[in-house]
């Protein structure tokens, strides 16, 4: 089960790249390529899709046969969400992460840059 994480990533990439809804059978060949040529079972893909659905990354259209799956947001949207949190811009989420320059204000950074460049000049 250790590589379910890798499969989740591969399935999401397949959905993002297709830009449309896919069934598990559509996903299968795209994921097989990504996973170093190893052939996967459809049930594995379905498991991964339902895990992704549970996490909210994928929505399923169960009226279609076979069921069709769509990414709930584009990759760019998710990256934006990630950056938003990582840069400490979302309210209330500050406690989640410790950023390398989290406590450095723009003014302090300017002071530091001045000091470093002055020292480089005199050195």
């Amino acid at each position: 089960m250790a590589n379910l994480g890798h499969l989740e990533r591969a399935v999401m990439h397949a959905l993002w790249e297709s830009g449309t809804s896919l069934s598990a059978y559509d996903v299968l060949p795209r994921v097989a390529d990504a996973a170093s040529g190893k052939q996967l079972a459809v049930t594995t893909v379905l498991t991964v899709l339902s895990r992704l659905e549970k996490k909210g990354f994928v929505s399923a259209d169960r009226s279609a046969r076979p069921h069709r799956y769509t990414a709930t947001a584009s990759r760019a949207d998710h990256v934006a969400e990630l950056l938003h949190e990582a840069l400490g811009e979302s309210a209330d989420r500050r406690a989640v992460l410790e950023r390398f320059v989290g406590g450095v204000s723009a003014a302090d950074a300017a002071v530091l840059r001045d000091l470093l460049s002055n020292r480089a000049d005199t050195a």
């Binding site: 994480g5 989740e8 990533r9 999401m12 996490k55 990354f57 990759r75 998710h78 990256v79 969400e81 990630l82 950056l83 949190e85 990582a86 840069l87 400490g88 209330d92 989420r93 500050r94 406690a95 989640v96 992460l97 410790e98 950023r99 390398f100 320059v101 989290g102 406590g103 450095v104 204000s105 723009a106 003014a107 302090d108 950074a109 002071v111 530091l112 840059r113 000091l115 470093l116 020292r119």
Partner: protein, 258 residues
């Protein structure tokens, strides 16, 4: 009228007030914590815990001493002590729950959007031009995240500084302290000292993490790494600064560039 109960209550009340106002103000103003951040951090924890316990203890002692004389007012004071305890603990639990959930969500996003660093364990690379380094603490699966923009911008010594800094946050479990102090602050939003304490703890853990990095790389490399990564606003717009620039956060940088 004056029993030992009232004396105890008065003594605890005095301790609580001392720990609530003059002691934290003096500690926040002192310069030595910049040189001994670990000791200062310990002291902040002692102040917060002892302050809380003495405040609750003072209310309890006063209420219990009052009960034999006046049952209803005594009961109200005891009730207040219990309510305060419940409120603080409940708030801490709620904060921890929110933090754990959002970390989990963040990690799920990371799994989908990043790739493992080719050589460094527990390190992920995000393909984005924004220079960014941070860590996500979570049990034994803590992660350090580096962006492409950061990797492109830093020399290998500067990068080692960043990684040593983030590792120190994870290894020393700074996240636990930060969550506790932020929970305390948000439980008592009207209490300025709690905000001050949370700010101080924020900077002190950065000082500690810097000290770990300075054991591995030169001060100069660390200073350059910070200067390179500190955000410059693309359009020059003044950014809403969450951290007010405290004297301590500037001292953090000055001691590296001195």
């Amino acid at each position: 009228m004056s029993g030992p109960g009232f004396v105890v209550a008065a003594a605890l009340g005095l301790i609580a007030v001392t720990l609530a106002v003059p002691v934290p103000i003096a500690l926040a103003r002192a310069t030595w914590p910049t040189r001994a951040p670990a000791r200062a951090l310990l002291l902040w924890q002692v102040i917060a815990l002892a302050g809380g316990f003495s405040m609750i203890g003072a209310l309890l002692a006063a209420g219990l001493a009052l009960m034999p004389i006046a049952v209803v007012p005594g009961g109200i004071v005891v009730g207040a002590a219990i309510a305060l305890t419940g409120y603080l603990l409940g708030h801490l639990a709620a904060t921890v729950t929110v933090v754990v959930r959002s970390r989990q969500r963040h990690q799920e996003l990371l799994w989908l959007l990043t790739s493992p660093h080719p050589t460094r364990a527990e390190t992920l690379v995000l393909e984005d031009s924004v220079p960014l380094a941070y860590c996500v603490p979570r049990g034994w699966h803590s992660l350090t995240v580096l962006s492409r923009g950061l990797l492109d911008r830093l020399s290998s010594e500067e990068l080692s500084a960043v990684i040593a800094h983030e590792r120190a946050h994870l290894d020393q479990r700074h996240d636990i302290l930060l969550v506790a102090f932020r929970a305390w602050h948000s439980a008592l939003p009207w209490f300025p000292i709690a905000a001050r304490a949370a700010e101080e703890v924020d900077v002190l853990v950065e000082l500690l993490a810097d000290d770990s990095a300075r054991r591995v790389v030169s001060d100069r490399a660390l200073a350059h790494a910070i200067a390179a990564v500190a955000r410059v606003e693309p359009d020059g717009a003044p950014r809403t600064v969450r951290h007010p620039a405290t004297a301590r956060s500037r001292d953090r940088l000055l001691r590296l560039a001195a």
